[in-house]
Symmetry: C2
Subunit: 503 residues, 2 copies
Amino acid sequence: MSTASRIRCPQLRKRIMSAHDAAALIPSGVNVGMSGFTGAGYPKAVPQALADHIRAARARDERFRISVWTGASTAPELDGALAEVDGIELRLPYQSDPTCRQRINDGQMEYIDIHLSHVAQYAWSGFFGKLDIAVVEVAGVLEDGRLIPSSSIGNNKTWIDQADKVILEVNSGQSAGLEGMHDIYYGTALPPRRKPIQMTAADDRIGEQYLICPPEKVIAVVETDAPDRNSRFSEPDDTSKQIARHLLHFFEMEVEKKRLPQNLLPLQSGVGNIANAVMAGLNEGPFENLTAYTEVLQDGMLAMLKSGKLSKASATAFSLSPEANQELSDNIDFYRERIILRTQEISNHPEVIRRLGIIAMNGMIEADIYGNVNSTHVMGSRIMNGIGGSGDFARNGYLSVFMTPSTAKNGAISAIVPMVSHVDHTEHDVQIVVTEQGLADLRGLAPRQRARRIIENCAHPDFRPKLLDYFERACASGRGMHTPHLLGEALSWHQRFEESGQM
Amino acid sequence: MSTASRIRCPQLRKRIMSAHDAAALIPSGVNVGMSGFTGAGYPKAVPQALADHIRAARARDERFRISVWTGASTAPELDGALAEVDGIELRLPYQSDPTCRQRINDGQMEYIDIHLSHVAQYAWSGFFGKLDIAVVEVAGVLEDGRLIPSSSIGNNKTWIDQADKVILEVNSGQSAGLEGMHDIYYGTALPPRRKPIQMTAADDRIGEQYLICPPEKVIAVVETDAPDRNSRFSEPDDTSKQIARHLLHFFEMEVEKKRLPQNLLPLQSGVGNIANAVMAGLNEGPFENLTAYTEVLQDGMLAMLKSGKLSKASATAFSLSPEANQELSDNIDFYRERIILRTQEISNHPEVIRRLGIIAMNGMIEADIYGNVNSTHVMGSRIMNGIGGSGDFARNGYLSVFMTPSTAKNGAISAIVPMVSHVDHTEHDVQIVVTEQGLADLRGLAPRQRARRIIENCAHPDFRPKLLDYFERACASGRGMHTPHLLGEALSWHQRFEESGQM
């Protein structure tokens, strides 16, 4: 398929223009819904051209800022470029860009960190105000104007439905073979008109292959030919492999106790090296005919699809290394039969997650001795990325697993602390905590029992005696034995790190 | 219906015995699933008889403790009696009994505080171990052995299904007219065999009127004739009325902005005086044809059904004053057409709550300036009651509202604090905070914006300047401007209260 033939709709061909001209259609002060999820399928030209316009406006002493709503994280060409020129007033629902993060933590940009399953309904309900413009990357346009989605879907359906104006980027760098891989559910509604989502397996198709967009909404079409960020993940290190081993052993025991089927239940896996290590472990493990119902399809799952260990995978986005992306493109027919990309309101929908009985596996920054988890804030105040979909899966899944190395910063930081400095997942939502030291199964345990289990199984030996000392003194304090804490010391580990660089 | 005729099944009539004899069938060390939800439908004779056995065992220096699983809170005849003799090893998933609470906070009883929607599936999955015995109050037994549920359902279906042995209390004190009010859904399953729950309105019936129990499981039937606890709620005070007024005004504005339908969306309301005040406010307010999809039906909702403001209500339990209970009994035919009692896995099911678009209204102990909510712990360590269903509704509902008076203990405690001492509902799950001072709508606000809104709208004037001072010094600290905190001071308000009795 040549670049030209990617836009088969005559009406939309008339709207082709440069990124510079398209970006000029975005005024200051608007809410813009952009495509993009974990560095996949984000617009690559318009945001950078918009950054140029903003830079020029700044040079004229004009204020120029927009609000940016996406699926999840994007890439330097979007978040990086717009944050660099201080062009973002408000960012939601997730980011992981270094420049963005710096601006947020410097107090120069507002950021709302939202459960990914909530975003579409909040936007639709008008809780964030009016969405003015959508900027969406697609892989192509059919003759009748329907859109072939790109390497992520995220909130694109909602942005296109809700925005008055739509700017399309048609990226011929995306494999033409993506066509047919997507499943866009058009059955959502606002209450009281919602119906059951009739899905009972991770690979059920319930929607359309294409995004529907009234051509008259489209104010610009920009042609691009550029790859997704496709950053490389490092090979699993010993720590990640050890975490994976603990988790696999746990799964084997659960199957033995008949609390999990032989082929487990649909897997959700967060993004990162530990997640990839778990997938690598599963790829060499005893389980066959696995399925995945997750947000993001990383290298590890692609390898499992190739080996046959994983029979089907549902996600809302890819997040692949350049090598894995090449593998996907080279064998797109094989993968199209095994991968379904959905809107993120469905990939993360509480109804579907609960029904399918997902095994939720997510990373974290820290856990406390009672099993509360911090996924987002460094030392209580500074945002790292955001909660993403971890809450959707942990709360509504069948099992909720949180994983991290037991220390960070060369041992200066313990990932197990007396009290987390920010809570994203409460004690009520955390069942399994895993570090390279071991696994703590918290099911059926009361708080003080959880504390001993987490300290003994998960804390690094360098911090274990200090944690035990805190816990025992808290128990002896007479302040209350349900969840014993020493209020004056609970956050002292974080405070010590801030002051001395060492917990 | 005479007492005798309440047990129409000949096979079960043979199992009639005294509470003393029935309780003797419960040995030490077992897991017992009991009926009971918010002081309704709990067994009234067997737990007290069991407490006598335990007391006798203690006198013989024998250890005798059981684990008690229920729907939610019960009453002095169950939790109180068993806690009094130190007969409970582990309690889940909710309690509100003073003796229980004391033992938990003294470290003499383990307690697991669980989202009420999670309990049935965890028990079924074996996450809490084997359920040995069920002790369930019913209102009657049909000839074929099917059971007429009582004034609450809670987890009774699951207890009866999962336990090897069942002890029934047939309470002729419960209105015979309850028959036909219940809807027991038998369509649940463990994954991967779950199907959509085909419910699209709060008053849809999807199950059976009766509980099904194989008669051979029933090891004892005990006849009782005793009312539920039926504690009286005090008349709404000025503070509660003011909270209700703020909330009603908010609803009116949301309807005006077309973000809520004219008849709102199905209401969930926590238990207590503020909840009753909100219902009283709605009963005098402009909204017609309301519906409720909630856990507990209190006096306020009964009055709204009577007035016609509320057309239908779904719950899993009643919690009525003696007067309201009399009103229910006197007009049971009227109410039976308007009330549906369901199992708690359905009343609190994330799938249904999300689909119906529930307006979740729950009380809390405290909120912090960033919108994190503590529903369970006093000063971080001492349990009050438990999270109950608040998380099920707040996370998955359409709107999540948390309410409290702005101060407690005659002004010694501020309900708005720099950092909550325990988190049950994270910043991601809290949209609306209401005190008698005002309402803070947090939707679409980043953390620092939320802080100013909460301090200005919700904090008591006595604490407002101190909160603002904390916030501004945290912002000036340079530690990170996303969620500014002073780690050394964040919990100092609670610490000060512990030391001096004044925040």
